[in-house]
Symmetry: C2
Subunit: 140 residues, 2 copies
Amino acid sequence: MLSQTAEYALRTVLYLATTDQAELSSVSDIAERLGIPRNYLSKTLHHLAQAGVLTSTRGKHGGFRLTKPASRLSLAEVVAPFDGPTGARICLLGRVACSDSDPCPAHGRWKSVSNEVSTFFRDTKVSDLLESPVARVKRA
Amino acid sequence: MLSQTAEYALRTVLYLATTDQAELSSVSDIAERLGIPRNYLSKTLHHLAQAGVLTSTRGKHGGFRLTKPASRLSLAEVVAPFDGPTGARICLLGRVACSDSDPCPAHGRWKSVSNEVSTFFRDTKVSDLLESPVARVKRA
DNA sequence: GTATATTATCATAGCCATATGATATTTACA
DNA sequence: TGTAAATATCATATGGCTATGATAATATAC
């Protein structure tokens, strides 16, 4: 569903949401804790910072933190810099112009499903996902 | 949402569903009509034939046709050979083991959304999408 | 049987997401 | 002032999806 990069971003944001918002976490810490390639994550977090989701501090004792509280940060904001608008707005048959007034054959039925996906990302806040622990991912 | 290849497959199947099921359509005809690269579509349709969705006939006057009527062919059957199981079964955070008994932080909320996606592909039949014409795609 | 039309297959190439490694830049602190 | 720690950036590599072109295999029709 999400690209690998967007998944890294989301997992990092979820982790940062479990720390104090003012506390800085280094890329090395996050990468080791979450099992993500360090240098690749570095670029991903830089990208998230440019998008305004994270705030970066350079130099010794630098690192990343959430720009705003997790309760006001939606999943869509975290994912959009990498995967673009998730769910809706995407024609199932790839037509550039597909709308209610000029629908593709799948438009009517697909619309309601894709709307639910985009609504999920838009309305779900990072804090909504904090009930369970953010475990280190087991991979195949 | 779908890979380019799966989208080609779906559009081809939708087109074949508008013809007589016994009639054979050649790759050249389909490719030109739908604006899809010919040789690439050839491999895609071969793959669909191996999956049992299409039946191929070689030699002069050969071509492809639907193996079963569009009313009994689900979108999932068309798309799965290329994109795998669509929607559900995919953990939003990429965990290989993510289930009700061992859930990731997003599992509870994501489950209902992804279930709707997979239900759409599983329950929607190709014939359900035949009300509108399958227009040639306009691309950017 | 020979030519023709068609699917099947092989070989190759471009692009992008993912990833790795090295270097530059900035900042804190002794 | 200099060293260390950290982000920022650059260069490169790999793999898969997409695509193109050429050749082989198959079947029809004359």
